[in-house]
């Protein structure tokens, strides 16, 4: 590839020097995620418990075109959902005549929540995801019907609330009562499933940075969820993505909201500890 002679020699040598310090083509790129003038950290040293040295946001593996959609909130298609949820936030629903705002006032009061989910929940004696917490408000405090896991209103609301934590490092409890769930999630992460007989780790730990046909494999981090996927033409939850990956390897996926997917979510979140929340991310 490197041409010698004339102007190409200079370019060639510069490229060679650059390649000494920059990762090879297969690795995550070196682009920086800057949104509204604020730098969002997309790679950090891995947490102690991690089998990896360094962890990267999925953003670093996307094409420059997809990346740029996430760098401008006006271009980011996920913001249509955020705006819709902002309206729902103010709208009373259910027998108690309350809206989210009746209790929480401005949604910014929930800043920091996304970064620590799923978290231990005394009321149910298991970890709670954001979907669980939202539905508890709806049924117990508003007297309204629970939303479905992937229902538009639910996904939109998780995007609005997660956005309040954008830029904050993922920081999830892994000890105490969470320890057992981390173990369970870890088991699932390393279990080979489906006719193709693969585990999450086969693709996202052993092969991140490699192309798998037209896809550039990331570490499968969840700091950007819910993400806007161009393929879905909309936002999708963490559990929807897990389900898709399991189906691709010809396995029967667990159900959204199942204990298995909650355990897997908690464990995958712990593998991304330190990465900044990026919701709503854009993916292809």
């Amino acid at each position: 590839m490197i041409k010698v002679g004339g102007i190409f020699a200079a370019v060639g040598i510069a490229a060679m020097l650059a390649s000494l310090v920059s990762p090879a083509l297969a690795d995550p790129d070196n682009n920086q995620l800057i949104i509204e003038g604020e730098l969002i950290v997309t790679d950090v040293a891995a947490p102690d418990s991690s089998p990896l040295d360094h962890i990267y946001s999925g953003w670093r593996f996307r094409s420059p075109e997809t990346q740029s959609l996430q760098m401008d909130d006006f271009e980011n298609p996920g913001f249509v959902a955020v705006d819709a949820a902002a309206e729902t936030w103010e709208t009373a629903d259910g027998s108690e005549g309350k809206s989210c705002a009746s209790c929480h006032e401005d949604v910014s009061s929930l800043a920091g929540l996304r970064a620590e989910l799923p978290k231990w929940d005394e009321a149910t004696n298991k970890p709670a995801t954001m979907e669980n917490l939202i539905n508890r408000c709806r049924t117990d405090r508003m007297g309204a019907e629970a939303w479905g896991w992937e229902q538009k209103e639910m996904v939109n609301m998780t995007a609005l609330i997660s956005l309040q934590s954008r830029g904050m490092p993922v920081n999830i409890q892994t000890d105490g009562p969470m320890a057992e769930w981390m173990e369970k999630g870890k088991d699932l992460y390393y279990t080979r499933v489906g006719q193709l007989n693969m585990s999450c780790s086969n693709c996202h730990e052993d092969n991140y940075g490699n192309q798998i046909r037209s896809d550039h494999l990331s570490q499968g981090q969840i700091n950007g969820f819910p993400v806007y996927r161009l393929k879905w033409a909309g936002l999708g939850s963490i559990h929807r993505r897990f389900k898709g990956c399991m189906e691709n390897i010809r396995a029967t996926p667990f159900k959204r909201g199942s204990d298995e997917f909650i355990a897997l979510e908690a464990y995958v979140a712990s593998r991304g500890a330190g990465l900044a929340v990026e919701t709503p991310s854009v993916r292809n």
Binding site: R192, V193, G194, Q195, R213, S214, R250, A251, T252
Partner: protein
């Protein structure tokens, strides 16, 4: 019209049935020292069909993980496994058959590469694929015949 289709597919199933009856079942393949010496079907593989299977995302989808410069018309070749260029120079036919049948037994128990003619599958296999191998015996022979054409020397 519908009857005709049903009748035709019954005939088709019959012929497939006959072919299967002659094929070595996935649990009966004799692999020794990472070699499967005998053809799975006794019918010579068709390299052109094998090439299509390599490309087809629902069949071999080998290009998901392997670069193969003999298939330049397909845009995306993966880089999870080694390039297949010249693979027939590196391996014998019996070795390649073993790799295709069950790479985990033939090469590397931890391999990400699917075992294409094995019933040692993962947990929670989707109903549609339960008890089924990824490729049929003749399809393995077809892919093998194609791989045998990948020579550089």
């Amino acid at each position: 019209m519908k009857k005709l289709v049903v009748a035709a597919s019954a005939v088709l199933m019959l012929t497939v049935g006959v072919a299967l009856a002659d094929a070595v079942g996935p649990n009966d393949v004799a692999m020794a020292d990472a070699v499967v010496a005998e053809s799975l079907t006794g019918v010579a593989g068709d390299p052109a069909a094998g090439r299509d299977i390599m490309i087809n995302r629902k069949l071999g989808n080998c290009l998901a993980c392997h670069v193969n410069s003999e298939i330049p018309e397909q845009p995306f070749h993966g880089e999870v496994g080694p390039p297949l260029d010249g693979v027939a120079d590196r391996w014998t036919e019996g070795e390649l058959r073993a790799i295709l049948v069950d790479v985990k037994q033939a090469m590397n128990p931890e391999s990400i590469m699917p075992s294409f003619y094995s019933l040692k599958l993962g947990a929670r296999v989707a109903e549609k694929f339960e008890g089924k191998t990824i490729l049929g015996a003749q399809q393995v022979e077809d892919v093998l015949a194609y791989l045998m054409t990948l020579k550089e020397e």
